[in-house]
Amino acid sequence: MTPFERIVTEHGPVVLRVCRAVVGPVDAEDAWSETFLSALQAYPRLDPTANVQAWLVTIAHRKAVDITRARARRPVSVEQVPERPAVDGVPREPDPVWAALRELPDKQRQAVAYHHIAGLPYREIAEIIGGSTDAARRAAADGIARLRATIGTEEAMP
């Protein structure tokens, strides 16, 4: 089998972009860390013919769902989310693309991330998020259409 280090080098950047799109910039690093730790744990038993990227996105999806549920359980109910300190000390404006992504229904946001960022075919996306291949394709198309409408430019393509 390929040393796991090579899996991290090859797929780490894409999985991080997927995590940022699905759970947002603040929770993305936790999602990435939990995904790769889980993947490392299961890696020796992975079918050598498996599509590694699809496997990682499947794990990332489960971690993202866990994180989203945990966040929903947090007893915080405020009009304005408190400002968070920048992790690298550089203050910045909130990310407009994430703001637009956050407004999408979960399935649309996931389908957009898994297809347009991870490059997975709709058949595999359907297996990850549930539902049919056509439903996954529609969710991604609807998501992109809404992102374009919200942001108003071609740049909305993640």
Partner: protein
């Protein structure tokens, strides 16, 4: 999302995440093989360790990627660049190459070497720093006086060169003989030890 919009520079974030992954992997007992490289007078050495100890040292000419792939096959595919586990041996290698250390004191994992080859490797640290033995002397010391060629093979396939000093085994006519790290590396090590 364009790169400029990423909340932090992606390389920096990935570097931090990689470090966090190796710490968590070590904590959870999932870091089966940790590795790093160190620059030395005999080139960039790859060092790899299991939880038991140092399992592999490889010279630059031995193709580090191929060595890591072999470790993934022979030990475990849970292989990560994780320097912390190699801190002690890296420090000791620095001391050795600056002439301030004569023997290594780190746990060793001999699982990549079996049978007679392992018996040969077990003998090598008994050859004193600065001294040498012939292939025939090592064969006798390892209990098979006629297995001179097998001693040559054991040295050539030593998974822990430098630390397990196969460079101290030379031909009976005094010439250096072969070396996995190349003749220049063997000369460098023997010259260092004779200084």
């Amino acid at each position: 999302m364009t790169e400029a919009r990423e909340s932090t520079a992606p390389d920096e974030a990935l570097e931090r995440l990689h470090a966090r992954l190796t710490v968590a992997a070590e904590r959870d007992g999932l870091l089966d093989v940790a590795y790093r490289t160190v620059d030395t007078p005999v080139g960039s050495l790859l060092l790899a360790a299991t939880e038991q100890g140092l399992v592999r040292v490889a010279f630059p000419g031995q193709d580090h990627e191929a060595v890591l792939t072999a470790l993934a096959e022979q030990v475990s595919p849970r292989v990560l660049a994780a320097p912390a586990r190699l801190d002690a041996v890296s420090t000791q290698l620095d001391e050795y190459f600056t002439g301030n250390r004569r023997e290594f004191d780190v746990p060793l994992d001999f699982r990549l070497s079996k049978g007679f080859r392992r018996a040969v490797l077990a003998h090598l640290p008994r050859i004193a720093y600065g001294g040498t033995e012939s292939y025939a002397q090592v064969a006798a010391a390892a209990g098979s006086p006629r297995a001179v060629r097998a001693v040559g093979t054991a040295c050539a396939t030593n998974p822990l060169p430098v630390v397990v000093p196969c460079h101290r085994v030379v031909r009976s006519d005094g010439s250096f003989g072969g070396y996995a790290g190349g003749p220049e590396a063997k000369r460098t090590l023997l010259t260092l030890e004779s200084g």
